[in-house]
């Protein structure tokens, strides 16, 4: 307890956070009420301080935690841009000194190349395999990893708003915040990707020996370390797939996939085969997940039903005031939108300061009903 018994000025009270909390939010953890009633002088002072507080309200900005997060992201981007700028000037200075080095290094590298080439020439098949671990180690963006050891799929939301539905026994590594001109993530296992559109920052998924490049779209990748094939299946948008430079820098073949097309990459002989009709491929037909089958086109559908569809697709639980949204119906198209974007659109359509918070597989929607 602070020394409130010594308070003699109104200011003393006003500057006391717990006093403010008591008056303005009726939270009385320090027993102000009782303390005030003990003594009449005191009660008068408290009353004066109270009146003053009531007369001193200031506008309060209505920022949600999402707004703050968004602002933080923008700030990191600003930092990144300014860092790049200063690096450019730095590099120009550096190059001068580097020249003297190069001749010496070149000789050393050449010797190194010969010895490894000689050494590894008879174990080539091994060399053709790229592991998730290698890929992740090579990245220096400070990745975080989500591992799904459960029986159910897990939703991962990335800093650009994209979502990944991660299947059991799978892992995804991604930077906490995407900086720079590329968005890179690393997958081991199976995931369904819904990528937020940003033509200026292409999105790359590294999975085993292949690299998948998109701008904004949804697709599924299956790349388990112990399986013979890697599969990419496209639902919306356009996807480009090529092999990882680590294994075939010389072979820059790139395959373009359109919606409902797929690709199977045979790891052993390094062959890409394109599947133009996925309904005729028995393996793919059997592996279709909820999220790929459900329709997100809604015409005059109760909000409760829309939320239920989302729960099924993403295997999440959504908590919302059922009675308040009882009468609400929406017409909206949510296909091709990541989960966060879907929720944002729904909240916006309901109106009335509706908001959502996402915590792992738990989503809470707050609203005072629809317009």
């Amino acid at each position: 307890m602070r020394k409130r018994n010594n308070y003699i000025e109104i200011e003393d009270f006003l500057a006391d956070e717990s006093f403010q909390l008591w008056i303005l939010s009726k939270i009385d953890e320090q027993g102000w009420e009782e303390w005030t009633l003990e003594n009449l002088e005191r009660a008068k002072l408290v009353e004066d301080a109270r009146l003053l507080l009531l007369a001193m309200k200031v506008p309060n900005s209505k920022l949600t935690s999402n707004d703050v997060h968004e602002a933080l992201k923008e700030t990191w981007q600003k930092i990144e841009q300014r860092e790049l700028l200063s690096q450019k000037t730095f590099k120009i200075k550096k190059q001068r000194t580097q020249r003297y080095w190069i001749s010496g290094i070149a000789a050393a590298v050449l010797a190194g190349v010969f010895s490894t080439w000689f050494f590894k020439s008879d174990v080539l098949p091994q060399d053709n395999v790229v592991t998730y671990k290698e890929l992740v180690e090579e990245n220096n963006e400070g990745l975080v990893e989500q591992t799904n050891n459960t029986e159910k799929s897990q939703i991962v939301t990335l800093s650009d708003g994209s979502s990944v539905l991660l299947q059991p026994n799978s892992k995804l590594s991604y930077p906490k915040i995407f900086t720079g001109n590329e968005r890179k993530v690393y997958l081991s296992g199976e995931g369904f990707f819904e990528i937020s559109k940003n033509p200026k920052k292409p999105f790359f998924v590294y999975a085993n020996e292949i690299v998948t490049r998109v701008v904004g779209t949804s697709f599924r990748i299956k790349a388990f370390p112990d399986q013979q094939n890697v599969e990419v299946l496209v639902r919306t948008g356009k996807v480009r797939v090529r092999s990882n430079d680590l294994v075939r820098a010389d072979k820059t073949e790139e395959i373009v996939l359109l919606p409902n097309q797929a690709l199977r990459f045979t790891r052993k002989d390094f062959v890409f085969s394109k599947i133009t009709n996925i309904t005729e491929d028995p393996i793919l037909v059997n592996s279709v997940r909820n999220i790929e089958q459900l329709s997100f086109e809604f015409t005059d559908i109760p909000v409760a039903q829309i939320l239920e569809t989302i729960e099924q697709a993403y295997v999440v639980e959504i908590d919302y005031p059922k009675d308040k949204l009882k009468e609400c119906r929406l017409t909206t198209s949510l296909s091709d939108q990541p989960l966060a974007e879907k929720l944002k659109i729904i909240c916006k359509s309901i109106g009335n300061d509706s908001n959502y918070e996402m915590n792992g597989n738990q989503i809470v929607i707050t609203t005072s009903g629809c317009n």
């Binding site: 009146l51 309200k57 300014r82």
Partner: protein
């Protein structure tokens, strides 16, 4: 408070998490304060993000033992003042060094329960709003942002005594009125003196 010291130190050593944490902790307070000095909320957001970007990029030259909140509020004020000088759209008067405190105090209507309280609060509110901008800003920083008198003096670039005066002059007149003898009109003029 100890937390802030630790976070600040971590940040200086290049810890991104501490940076993000402090950003999330104070962003809202800073937006509020910024809005009280500049009517264009986009520009306020920009200023605040620039303040944080500077902190990160020049983290090596940051001081130790900083009261983080006071430092941030003060940086935001300086940044907006600079913008104000540069950007003539902002300039209402010819003087460039005075940032004007834009907020009017309003009334916590939800918490006023009876007539008598309502009347007194309304009256106090009028007195408060008649105070010069700088006094209002000092009151705001003291009681809404929780700064100490020292910190306010630093931020408004005045000495301790002046900061103290700014805070007290306004409240002084209010207190006199509560003693119940001085007529209303005199008080209002006294408050502005």
């Amino acid at each position: 408070m100890l937390d802030d010291f630790i976070l600040w130190n971590n940040l200086k050593n290049g810890d991104e998490k501490s940076f993000s944490f402090l950003f999330e902790k104070y962003y809202k307070d800073l937006i509020n304060y910024g809005n009280s000095l500049c009517p264009f909320s986009e520009k306020v957001q920009d200023c605040i993000q620039d303040v944080f970007a500077d902190i990160w990029l020049y983290r090596n030259s940051l001081q130790d033992n900083v009261i983080v909140k006071a430092y941030l509020l003060s940086s935001v004020r300086k940044r907006i003042a600079r913008l104000h000088e540069r950007d003539h759209v902002f300039r209402k008067t010819t003087s460039t060094d005075v940032l004007e405190f834009l907020f009017d105090f309003s009334i916590e209507n939800d918490l006023v329960e009876d007539e008598i309280t309502a009347e007194r609060v309304l009256y106090l509110n009028k007195l408060l709003n008649d105070l010069p901008g700088r006094q209002k800003e000092a009151l705001y920083l003291r009681y809404h942002q929780g700064l100490s008198v020292d910190q306010i003096a630093d931020l408004l670039d005045v000495n301790y005594q002046s900061a103290n005066n700014l805070l007290h002059r306004g409240l002084l007149s209010l207190r006199k009125e509560w003693k119940g003898s001085i007529p209303l009109l005199i008080l209002i003029s006294a408050g502005v003196l």
